[in-house]
């Protein structure tokens, strides 16, 4: 379980986040560029210094651990980075990259790791013969599989996947999702999925957190959240998902759109206030906290606050 409160720098990249993940859950964090979801992912793993608050993993505050102990804990919490090519050492053969987590955590020596690496490569749909190659010799889809293999090989309990599908063609996305799902089944993993792609998240996640401007604006189970969004931003995100039905899509294009304002929201204002069709004066002055509006649903919006 984790409770997090992260504040980073003057202009908060993350502000007042309370985020918890239970064992075996799949939680999705969705939002657009700059909302802080990647920062949150890194903070969860202790890769991002936290200006205030705590990140607790299985009851331990990551910030209080000495460097060596923290490194040791890393075996249990792994990350898949957004750009698989950038996250692999271009000068290391992938066999070595995959063996590295095993050796670093004393699960094997460089020599004995070879069999485990071969097994893992097979598991993710690659061949053990690939171990001798360098990252640039693989296709995008293959590199994503390598990234998955590296995250899984040391037997973690928690995996944070940062936009694992965004670099892939739609047909590959399904395959990778299946792989991730089967790995989760097999190994009883806990997933935190970071994405800006709603349809993908809907099938996988048990819970969804919507982020905007460094804050969580809504949380809940995907089916309800997408069917009846409580926060206007969530509604906007749902509306933006392309629909593979030409007649509906054409009709949508002819719909009138609310005026889109440019410019940054004021520091304390609700981050959506510049674009929100329901914006009220109070929205520019302050941001409400995340409040429970139904069983398992929370939203941070003045629309759901009790009138003063």
């Amino acid at each position: 379980m984790k409770d997090i409160f992260v504040r980073y720098g003057q202009r908060a990249a993350l502000a007042g986040i309370d985020f918890a993940v239970g064992a075996g859950e799949t939680v999705a964090v969705i939002g657009e560029s700059g909302c802080g979801k990647s920062t949150l992912g890194r903070a969860l793993l202790g890769l991002q210094p936290v200006a205030a608050g705590r990140v607790m993993f299985k009851g331990e505050d990551l910030a209080t651990l000495p460097a060596a102990t923290l490194r040791h804990r890393r075996r249990l919490m792994q990350m898949m980075f957004q750009d698989p090519q950038a996250s692999l050492n271009p000068r290391m053969r992938i066999g070595e990259t995959l063996a590295e987590p095993l050796v670093v955590h004393h699960l094997a020596t460089w020599r004995t790791a070879r069999t485990m690496v071969a097994e893992m490569l097979n598991r993710v749909g690659l061949s053990p013969a690939h171990a001798g190659r360098y990252p640039h010799e693989f296709s995008g889809g293959q590199r994503q599989r390598i990234a998955i293999a590296r995250a899984m090989i040391a037997g973690p309990e928690l995996v944070v996947a940062d936009e694992p599908l965004s670099a892939l063609d739609v047909t590959l996305q399904g395959q990778i999702l299946d792989l991730l799902a089967s790995l989760q089944q097999e190994r009883a993993l806990t997933y935190v999925f970071i994405s800006h792609d709603l349809p993908v998240v809907r099938h996988l996640a048990g819970r969804v957190s919507v982020m905007l401007g460094g804050r969580i604006v809504e949380q809940g189970a995907p089916a309800e959240l997408f069917a009846k969004p409580a926060h206007p931003y969530t509604a906007a995100l749902c509306d933006a998902v392309p629909i593979a039905d030409p007649r509906i899509a054409r009709a949508k294009l002819l719909e009138k759109q609310p005026e889109s304002h440019e410019g940054q929201p004021a520091p304390d204002a609700c981050p959506f206030s510049v674009r929100c069709p329901h914006a009220r004066p109070i929205c520019i002055e302050a941001m409400p906290g995340l409040r429970s509006i139904a069983a398992g649903r929370q939203a941070a919006c003045w629309l759901h606050e009790e009138p003063a």
Binding site: L45, Q78, M79, F81, N89, M92, E100, A154
Partner: protein, 277 residues
């Protein structure tokens, strides 16, 4: 520079360097005389093509009758080994300090950067002369001093590169796997900065050879009885009017070596450019 011209100059550099290397390696075989063999009756003979010259001494002899050609050929050993040793030692010191400064940042970087600034502000040759005069000349002290002269070149380049690399995803990914700093430096950062080190190395070697020559010229170089080109220059300057060959030929040898290294280093630099790789 157009590729053809660049390649041509690289080949020229390689040829020059190969010549010097050959001389150094094959010295016992191609030098007709021992470099320290004094033969006073043959002193101050001009090169063989001059009227007073003798075919037994191709480039003439110095003031105590030692064959110049032999001394130059043997001298290649000194210059090359000094250049290589100084460049290598400088690379190790500078590379390590640069990596640590760039990767760890903070206090470590502050200290190392300060050291770099101090060294750059210093009139180094003066300092070197002082050091060597205090400790006497000799091969090891000279190499040490030369390494001290060049480590800064490596450190600055490596530090900058390490700083920009450390925020890259593949470093972050390795950290998230739990890789410790030792392995990160050795297996992730070092291979990435190695091309730069090689390039700096080639120029440092040239710089070291020149500086050694200068130090010998000023009398604080390696042992003057061992034929270092710089020492020969030093000796020859007193005889410029009367026996110009004593200074000119060692000078040409130095120029050829440094030119070869620089041409090759230039080409290496463009080839190993990390932006292209």
């Amino acid at each position: 520079m157009r590729p053809a011209a660049a390649r041509a100059s690289a080949i020229l550099g390689a040829i020059l360097l190969a010549l010097v290397l050959f001389a150094a390696v094959a010295a016992p075989l191609i030098a007709p005389y021992k470099p320290t063999a004094i033969e006073l009756r043959q002193r101050l003979l001009p090169p063989a093509w001059e009227a007073a010259g003798s075919s037994r001494h191709l480039l003439g002899t110095d003031n105590v009758g030692r064959d110049l050609f032999s001394r130059i050929v043997w001298g290649a050993r000194i210059s090359l080994s000094v250049g290589l040793a100084a460049a290598s030692l400088g690379a190790v010191i500078g590379g390590t300090l640069g990596l640590c400064a760039g990767y760890f940042g903070g206090a470590v970087d502050a200290v190392i950067s300060w050291l770099i600034e101090v060294q750059l502000a210093f009139p180094f040759t003066l300092f070197a002369i002082f050091l060597l005069a205090a400790f006497g000349g000799g091969f090891l002290p000279v190499v040490g001093v030369l390494a001290l002269a060049t480590w800064v070149n490596y450190a600055r380049v490596v530090r900058g590169q390490a700083m920009s690399l450390r925020s890259q995803d593949f470093i972050l990914a390795a950290q998230s796997v739990g890789v410790g700093p030792a392995r990160l430096l050795r297996r992730y950062l070092l291979p990435a900065v190695l091309p730069s080190i090689v390039v700096v190395g080639s120029f440092s070697a040239a710089q070291a050879i020149l500086t050694e020559a200068a130090l010998s010229f000023l009398g604080v170089g390696v042992d003057p009885t061992i034929p270092s080109w710089g020492a020969m220059l030093n000796l020859g300057r007193n005889y410029l009017q009367t026996a110009w060959w004593m200074a000119i030929f060692p000078g040409i040898a130095i120029a050829i070596t440094v030119l070869g290294i620089n041409l090759l280093g230039d080409w290496l630099g463009t080839r190993l450019d990390p932006r292209a790789g």
